[in-house]
């Protein structure tokens, strides 16, 4: 495996080990998404259309991802550990990619529970929705990890992350809801793929400037 891939694997495995040992991010995300779905049940009045429920699925996904992203660089920022990673000879974008893959893992793990629960509470989840969720995950983790690194450099980290992330997540939500509810989902899936490609490359290229002076 090329050096870059080794670095990314080492960093991602480090994050997964940290999570298995501390067990603080994933359980929180699981409970959070489930409680959101329960809240959504009570939010939809009887007359409400099933489409509204589909839309709310995306609200649950974005905010669960936000919860996970708040923890993304917590270990690094707590003891100034980002310096240790920045000092290492590896390309700084490997830190971003490793962290994004770890975040993707947590988000997918939460969705493995959330989607069946959603189907149970609100009605079947079709193939296109799952495809849209998969594509959206890539965009959320790519942009979200970069934004988490930016927010962690500031003082009011927990406040800053949602403010920075939500405007950027609007296109993802539009693409996701479109793919779920619209009759021709192809356009929306293509749009999500475009968003992922565009912002993943942009995040990959600019991470270096976020963690160094």
């Amino acid at each position: 495996m090329s050096g870059y891939a080794q670095d990314v694997v080492a960093l991602a495995r480090k994050d997964l080990t940290l999570e298995l040992r501390a067990r603080d991010t994933l359980p929180a995300m699981l409970l959070f998404v489930l409680s959101m779905l329960v809240v959504f049940h009570f939010v939809l009045p009887a007359g409400g259309s099933r489409l509204a429920a589909n839309g709310l699925l995306w609200v649950a996904i974005v905010f669960t991802a936000l919860l996970g992203l708040t923890r993304a660089f917590a270990a690094e920022r707590e003891h100034g550990l980002l310096d240790g990673l920045v000092l290492a000879p590896c390309d700084r974008s490997a830190i971003w990619l490793g962290k994004s893959i770890a975040m993707l893992g947590f988000l997918v793990a939460a969705e493995v529970v959330a989607l069946p629960a959603f189907a149970l509470f609100f009605g079947a989840v079709d193939g296109t929705t799952v495809a849209a969720v998969a594509l959206a995950n890539l965009g959320i983790c790519a942009v979200g990890t970069l934004i988490a690194a930016m927010a962690s450099a500031g003082r009011a980290r927990e406040l800053l992350l949602p403010l920075l992330f939500l405007p950027l997540s609007i296109p993802i939500v539009i693409g996701g809801v479109g793919a779920t509810v619209a009759d021709d989902p192809g356009r929306y899936l293509a749009f999500l793929a475009l968003y992922d490609a565009l912002f993943a490359v942009l995040s990959w290229a600019s991470f270096e400037y976020v963690v160094t002076e």
Binding site: L51, L146, M150, A151, A153, G154, R155, A156, L159, L160, L163, L164, L166, P167, L168, I170, P171, I174, G175, V177, G178, V181, A182, D184, R187, Y188, F191, L194, Y195, L198, F199, L202, S206, Y209, V210, T212, E213
Partner: protein, 226 residues
């Protein structure tokens, strides 16, 4: 060309162009066939919107220059450009909703793609200032702001495409005017107004930038004397 002479030249040309443009728009250009007098807002709403776009693009360009060369001046220029972009964005939202009120009797309509885009950009760039105010003055803040400004200019077309796609499942009542069928006179009045607003924007930008540079130099002076 000293700062004073440049800024005042810009301000003078802005004044001339604006007064001329508005006069042309109100007294020379004919009224629009179907919209009548209310179409006169067009001469301020569209130039202000275009100026806001120009400022966001200018801010992103200066941010890229900062990331490439780490020149000291680019961060302030990007910051000022985005600050002006938000002000003109607010003006676009204000004049846009007044135009919606006249034309369709409602202050806000999700069918107005450009207004929806400005709303998203407004949210995005307010977070830009939150980011700047939560980091200390220094290279780290400049880098973060630059990266975020570049994200902004990429988000702009992506959001516009997303808004059009959203119409597929939101089915808003579409109020898109089918582009400006403007007579010759209207177009001339529009161009003069546009030039006036751009000159005004440049004057305000130059002034604010000078102020920020003086502020930075004062900080250096204060600490040199400390």
């Amino acid at each position: 060309m000293s700062t004073w002479s440049r800024n005042s030249a810009l301000s003078a040309s802005a004044l001339l162009l604006l007064v001329g443009g508005i006069a042309l728009a109100f007294y020379w250009a004919p009224e629009d066939a179907d919209q009548g007098f209310s179409q006169k807002i067009f001469y301020i709403h569209v130039p202000v919107a275009l100026t806001a776009y120009a400022f966001f693009a200018w801010g992103a360009w200066k941010a890229l220059r900062h990331l490439w060369t780490r020149g000291e001046r680019y961060d302030l220029e990007s910051y000022t450009a985005i600050h002006m972009g938000v002000i003109f964005g607010l003006l676009t939202l204000a004049t846009g909703s007044i135009w919606a009120k006249i034309s369709w009797g409602i202050w806000w309509s999700w069918g107005q793609r450009q207004l929806v885009l400005f709303l998203i950009l407004f949210l995005f760039y307010c977070a830009y200032f939150m980011l700047r105010f939560s980091t200390d003055v220094g290279p780290a803040r400049a880098n973060l702001s630059a990266v975020y400004a570049v994200f902004g200019i990429v988000l702009l077309p992506v959001s516009f495409l997303a808004i059009r796609l959203a119409e597929g499942f939101l089915h808003p009542v579409l109020f898109e005017r089918d582009g400006p069928q403007m007579t010759g006179e209207m177009f001339v009045a529009f161009c003069v107004c546009l030039a006036g607003v751009l000159a005004l924007a440049a004057a305000l930008y130059a002034n604010e930038l000078t102020g920020k540079r003086i502020d930075a130099r004062l900080r250096e002076l204060r600490e040199a004397l400390a």
